[in-house]
């Protein structure tokens, strides 16, 4: 990394900190405005404790419920470290006791189970790297604005490693009964009022039985951080993050999708595009796998280089349940494209890193674009289809840099 880039990165992190001080009246939407006094009722982890474990580049999008992420230029890692992993709570962050934690499995099963966490951890486990991304990741890029967490155009995703068991192994232990078609997950988080319903989401059985759909207790080799679901969570890789219920304590096998506000009112998109600004049509469908998407993780916006140097463009690409076939990079705002080098294929649901190195021969602005294509011929669009709740922003990312005379 050049000193110039490092300086730019530090400047950005420093500015983010200043915004966080709150005492400074910075016009426009700043972190200071986004942060409100937190409610820290008994049994919850205060935001200050959660944020102390996050990188300086971590931007809080809302304090209640706690949501935040780092933008693409701070995601330049093969494996997302804990301090860069996005946070999206629906309710408060519960402070749970692993020693007392029990996983209950019920519904259309031969034998309902109550598995203490310690017993679950003795089952054959494995570690894999998988993508998680909030359905609303990138929402702020939609025009007109959709309500909901104002995720930056980049960020709101991460690809750490997870350790645990296949959900399928637990379901096989319980034994599926005839008619089993969906699996619902519920966690131990709670809201500010007793009337707040639990966050419960279900996935179709085929995805639930896929080997990489896991019940995990570790992230990047250590216990799950409290805000990421300690002591137990689901990981439904490649799908909208809301399917991956945190603080998991209940699994219910159903004959139909779970009925509840987090299935029927949120995480839904129209079957066909609607007029921007319209409300969700009655026949909207639930969100499942993410479409193909990429981020540029190097360079960062506004970074400066010198003529005669070399530019390394680096990023990550993923495609929900599918694989990445190729990533093309443009250094002239989309007039011409060059195929980037893809890193070796890793775990099934891991993002694919890409890179391209070019000499810098002329001064001026360089507009870098990246366009990922999946193995089904699915390619990133220039602008994502507008939808009322602002999900699945997956448009071609753009980063502008400046090349100075030598």
């Amino acid at each position: 990394m050049s000193n110039v880039i490092r300086a730019a990165a530090r400047r950005r992190e420093f500015l983010a900190q200043l915004a966080g001080l709150g005492a400074l009246a910075v016009p426009g939407r700043t972190l200071a405005q986004a942060v409100t006094p937190p409610a820290d009722p008994a049994g919850t982890v205060p935001n200050s404790v959660v944020l102390a474990q996050k990188a300086q580049s971590f931007t809080v999008h809302s304090a209640r419920p706690l949501t935040g992420s780092v933008t693409a230029e701070f995601h330049d890692f093969d494996v997302t470290p804990n301090d860069r992993m996005f946070v999206r709570n629906n309710l408060l962050t519960p402070d749970l006791d692993a020693a007392k934690h029990v996983l209950r499995v019920r519904g259309l099963v031969e034998k309902p189970l109550e598995i203490p966490l310690a017993q679950l951890r003795k089952m054959p486990s494995f570690t894999t790297q998988s993508m998680l991304e909030c359905a609303g990741s990138g929402r702020a890029a939609f025009q007109p604005r959709a309500s909901g967490t104002p995720w930056s155009p980049t960020g709101g995703m991460g690809c750490p490693t997870w350790t645990g068991v296949s959900l399928a192994d637990v379901l096989k232990m319980a034994g599926l009964r005839a008619g089993a078609a969906h699996v619902a997950f519920s966690g131990d988080d709670f809201g500010a009022v007793a009337t707040a319903p639990k966050v419960i989401r279900s996935v179709p059985l085929a995805k639930a039985m896929e080997r990489h759909t896991m019940i995990v207790w570790a992230m990047n080799g250590g216990d799950l951080p409290k805000v990421h679901g300690y002591p137990l969570r689901v990981v439904v890789p490649g799908w909208v993050g809301s399917a991956s219920i945190k603080w998991l304590s209940g699994i219910e096998v159903l004959d139909a999708p779970f009925k509840g506000t987090f299935m029927d009112d949120s995480y839904r998109i129209p079957r066909t595009p609607v007029q921007p600004g319209d409300k969700l049509p009655a026949d909207a469908v639930t969100t499942e796998a993410w479409p193909v998407k990429s981020i540029i993780t190097l360079p960062g916006p506004g970074d400066r280089y010198k003529v005669g140097g070399r530019l390394v463009v680096r990023g990550s690409a993923w495609a929900g349940d599918n694989d990445i076939e190729r990533v093309d990079v443009s250094l002239d705002g989309g007039k011409t494209w060059e195929r980037a080098k893809l890193a070796m294929r890793g775990e099934k649901y891991a993002w694919r890193r890409f890179s391209l190195e070019v000499p810098l021969n002329a001064p001026g602005e360089v507009v870098i674009l990246a366009r990922a294509t999946g193995d089904r011929g699915n390619t990133q669009p220039a602008v994502s289809t507008w939808n009322p709740l602002g999900y699945f922003w997956n448009a071609i990312p753009r980063v502008g840099i400046l090349v100075d005379k030598a």
Binding site: G22, A42, L51, S62, A194
Partner: protein, 197 residues
């Protein structure tokens, strides 16, 4: 390769995060008919930025309010109507009409002229969960005054509850802390609550 070494994000960022979180400036809604009720109800569960940053059409606000009732907001159907009208009037993509702006100016003047206790109650979303004479989420102010009428240390206890939050006296629904209130403001509120018998 890391863009930022871990030590940089150590003690300094912890202190900054704590500072940022102790900032008491909560965004407020533009004054207008229903603004106080809207602020009080919405702020129970989420910050007001969720309302202010994304103006919506009336149809979308109706939909949002329907969902918020599903999410457990303690509101009556009449209150839903007042809140929806307020949001559709002041937070729509075209902005408030001339008439709505005039009503807003009037409401702002009334707010400024309101007594200090009313201002404090409105500004801190107290009325989202409490009313004078009936239980909403938390106990009625009258019930509190009655319970503590013979308690010589009531002032100290209530001041502590308002500042630090509480749970268990009236039920298991927690009362959030209000660290931004000054001692004088807390005293004003405590005296007022205890006078509600």
């Amino acid at each position: 390769m890391t863009r930022l070494s871990r030590p940089l994000a150590s003690a300094a960022s912890t202190a900054l995060a704590a500072l940022a979180l102790s900032a008491t400036a909560q965004e407020t809604l533009v004054p207008g008919p229903g603004a106080e009720l809207t602020q009080a109800k919405c702020a129970i569960c989420h910050e007001i930025g969720y309302v202010t940053r994304a103006p919506q059409s009336r149809a979308r606000w109706e939909e949002v309010m329907r969902v918020m009732v599903q999410r457990g907001t303690p509101v009556t159907p009449d209150e839903v109507k007042i809140i929806t009208d307020y949001l559709a009037t002041y937070y729509n993509p075209e902005g408030p009409s001339a008439a709505a702006q005039a009503a807003s100016a009037q409401a702002a003047a009334a707010q400024a002229a309101a007594d200090p206790v009313t201002q404090l109650l409105n500004r801190n979303a107290c009325l989202g969960c409490h009313a004078v004479d009936k239980q909403v989420v938390g106990p009625a102010f009258r019930e509190i005054a009655t319970r503590y009428k013979a308690d010589a240390s009531a002032g100290v206890k209530l001041a502590q509850k308002i500042k630090a939050g509480g749970q268990g006296v009236w039920g298991q629904v927690p009362m959030p802390p209000n660290p931004g209130l000054s001692d004088a403001e807390v005293k004003l509120l405590v005296d007022w609550v205890l006078a509600q018998r």
